[in-house]
């Protein structure tokens, strides 16, 4: 209490009652009032356009700095590369067509135009004279031992043929010539060396065909069943009626296995567990170097390669399995197995294409707005119409594909931020995915990657820029922020009251002595020094 009582000599108790207002005080009050009015006006004006912008949020994409393009078209978003081939001209390379007449007859009945040529026929060419177009849509190679065919056509020519979205059937046998071996290797298979053949003593049958010397075990009958990881293959489009009941005969098959990591090579039919690839009449030793190249269910009797853009390469380990004796036999199911396989390879089923695709912003009122960029948090929708080629003899047209059970869309920026299933909305094969984009801006991509056995892969990717909110597009007047607004306006009101009280109060201007009693100003003070 002592130190408080030693107050400075000018406490308010010593101040005399306020004198009449001076002109200076009046001016000061006027100025401050004007400032308050100005501040009030400023606050009102600054909130007016803000409210207008908040109201126009839904329709006001002019604020986002990008023009809305109404003339948006499908064609820009459709890849022509993904359109699979649908032709029916088939070139068959075989030396002696006689043993396979039944196969050719069946294919011709299915309205395929076969051209059967010998590998030694040098007039055969795959492209036209100037090399710009292919003359055939599919290639049936049935001469396993050949080095070359036609006008010295080699492995690279066949690979180019596949790259051009065309189908190839490799009907192999032991021993395999360099051409077929090269093509098989290029399509993800490894085959055993010359001199070996796939043997199965348990399932061995007596061959129906005469020909080369047949060792016991070279000809065997497989009870067809889905193999290994390809269990779902049975339900696929390759064999629409499933695996045949009767066994399928293979003779002089080459031992083949899929290379590691070749995911597009799908096994269709595997060898029995008792099969192994080895030299006939030889005893298998325990020597590691002399172990069979491939044995059991790893040996592929039939495999199918889906190229990404619709080409198909089917590998059949035994050309003899296509002979008339087995196709016509009532005992064996070769015809039931190979005919669907071959027609699938030639493109009768499972050829898909994205006929149309579009993405757009879904407005709150349900309307759609096409744009080449979206804002974070927008609800966007991708519509995609998918068609399948109906290659049956009397159909031959694209029809809606309504059977996708698990089509899904990914929303990707390096990683998928959203995975959404695409639901079918009509009978025209239209699939739709709609989702709210995450609050993340950057370059995003609509991505559909649909790899299913027996179907052309569906690949769709469109990059869309996602932009953040423009500065006046953020949500405003949130209920959650009301305490903050209240605090600010309370402070403003308190400030106004305080300012009023100080200005119009009794003694504010007299906390200090009048000018006459005051010390010299700083300027004078400096001069004095």
């Amino acid at each position: 209490m002592d130190h408080l009582s030693r107050s400075p000599h000018r406490s308010h108790r010593h101040i005399s009652p306020p004198p009449p207002l001076s002109a200076r005080t009046v001016w000061c009050r006027a100025l401050c009032t004007a400032l308050f009015l100005f501040a009030l006006l400023g606050a009102v004006l600054s909130s007016a356009p803000v409210a207008a912008a908040a109201e126009g949020r839904s329709g006001a994409s002019r604020c986002d700095g990008s023009p809305i393009r109404d003339g948006w078209s499908f064609s820009r978003h459709i890849s022509t590369r993904g359109t699979p081939p649908v032709g029916r001209r088939v070139l068959v390379i075989v030396d002696d067509a006689q043993p396979y007449s039944r196969l050719f007859q069946l294919l011709q009945e299915a309205a395929y135009q076969l051209e059967v040529r010998s590998p030694s026929d040098r007039s055969v060419r795959l492209r036209n004279a100037v090399g710009t177009e292919y003359l055939y849509d599919a290639l049936l190679l049935m001469e396993p031992g050949m080095h070359t065919f036609g006008d010295s056509l080699r492995v690279q020519d066949v690979v180019d043929f596949v790259d051009a979205n065309r189908s190839v059937v490799l009907a192999a046998a032991a021993p395999l010539g360099p051409l077929m071996e090269g093509v098989a290797e290029a399509t993800g298979l490894e085959v055993d060396e010359a001199g070996t053949v796939l043997l199965d003593y348990v399932h061995a049958v007596r061959p129906l065909h005469s020909g080369r010397t047949n060792a016991w075990g070279e000809t065997f009958a497989v009870r067809p069943e889905a193999c290994g990881i390809a269990g779902r293959m049975t339900a696929s489009r390759i064999l629409p009626r499933g695996m045949p009941e009767r066994p399928v005969v293979f003779s002089r098959a080459i031992g083949a296995a899929a290379k590691a990591g070749k995911e597009l090579v799908r096994p269709v039919l595997c060898a029995p567990a008792t099969a192994h690839s080895y030299e006939p009449h030889e005893v298998i030793t325990s020597d590691e170097d002399a172990a069979p190249f491939v044995a059991g269910r790893e040996a592929l009797l039939v495999s199918a390669l889906h190229a990404r853009f619709g080409a198909r390469v089917t590998f059949v380990a035994s050309v003899d399995a296509l002979r008339d004796e087995y196709l016509s036999s009532g005992e064996y199911g070769n015809a039931d197995f190979f005919l669907p396989l071959l027609t699938w390879t030639l493109g009768e089923r499972g050829l898909l294409r994205i006929a149309a695709a579009e993405h757009y912003r879904v407005l709150p009122d349900g309307g759609r707005q096409h744009a080449d960029r979206y804002r974070v948090g927008d609800t966007v929708r991708l519509e995609m119409r998918i068609e399948e080629w109906d290659g049956a003899k009397d159909a031959q047209h694209w029809q809606p594909w309504n059977e996708a059970p698990d089509l899904q869309l990914e929303w990707v920026m390096l990683d998928p931020y959203v995975r959404h299933d695409m639901r079918r909305v009509d009978d025209r094969g239209t699939y739709v995915a709609e989702f709210a984009t995450p609050m993340k801006h950057g370059l995003f991509k609509f991505r559909v990657e649909h790899f299913r056995d027996g179907y052309t892969p569906l690949l769709y990717a469109r990059v869309v820029p996602m932009q953040p909110f423009w500065h006046n597009e953020y949500q405003r007047f949130l209920v959650k922020a009301y305490p903050y607004y209240a605090a600010v306006f309370a402070v403003m009101a308190a400030f106004w009251l305080l300012a009023y009280a100080l200005l119009w109060g009794k003694s504010f201007m007299h906390l200090r002595p009048p000018a006459s009693e005051r010390r010299p100003s700083l300027t004078l003070h400096v001069k004095r020094e």
């Binding site: 000061c28 922020a481 600010v488 402070v491 400030f495 305080l498 109060g505």
Partner: protein, 118 residues
């Protein structure tokens, strides 16, 4: 120390404050206390409800803090204790000038806050 003693000390403290500090300065002190209380409430609310409209949170908080700082400087200039001889220049400004500066600073502060609060 018994409660009566404590009460007496508090009472003397209060009466001393009332007797020594001018009325205007007490008014300013009240304003400052209100500001601190508001800022405390804001911080509590922010911790409880989350700072989602972060701009609103920031502007309200800075409104309180900024006003506090400006008002403290006004109080320093108005305080008769700070009018000793040969002190700093700000101690020699007239109360009117201090008041106008205080008002203008608040004007700028409030404009900024209203713009930022969203």
């Amino acid at each position: 120390m018994s409660s009566t003693q404590a009460r007496r000390v508090l009472h003397e403290l209060a009466s001393g404050y009332r007797s020594v500090v001018p009325r205007e300065l007490r008014l300013i002190d009240l304003y400052l206390v209100c500001l601190v209380a508001t800022a405390g409430c804001l911080a509590t609310y922010g911790m409880l409800a989350g700072t989602f409209p972060f701009n609103a949170f920031l502007s309200a908080m800075f409104c309180c803090l900024g006003s506090f700082v400006i008002t403290v400087s006004l109080r320093m200039q108005l305080n008769p204790v700070n009018q000793a001889e040969d002190k700093h220049r700000w101690q020699q400004l007239t109360p009117e000038l201090a008041y106008i500066g205080w008002t203008l600073c608040h004007l700028v502060l409030f404009l900024t806050v209203v713009n930022f609060i969203g």
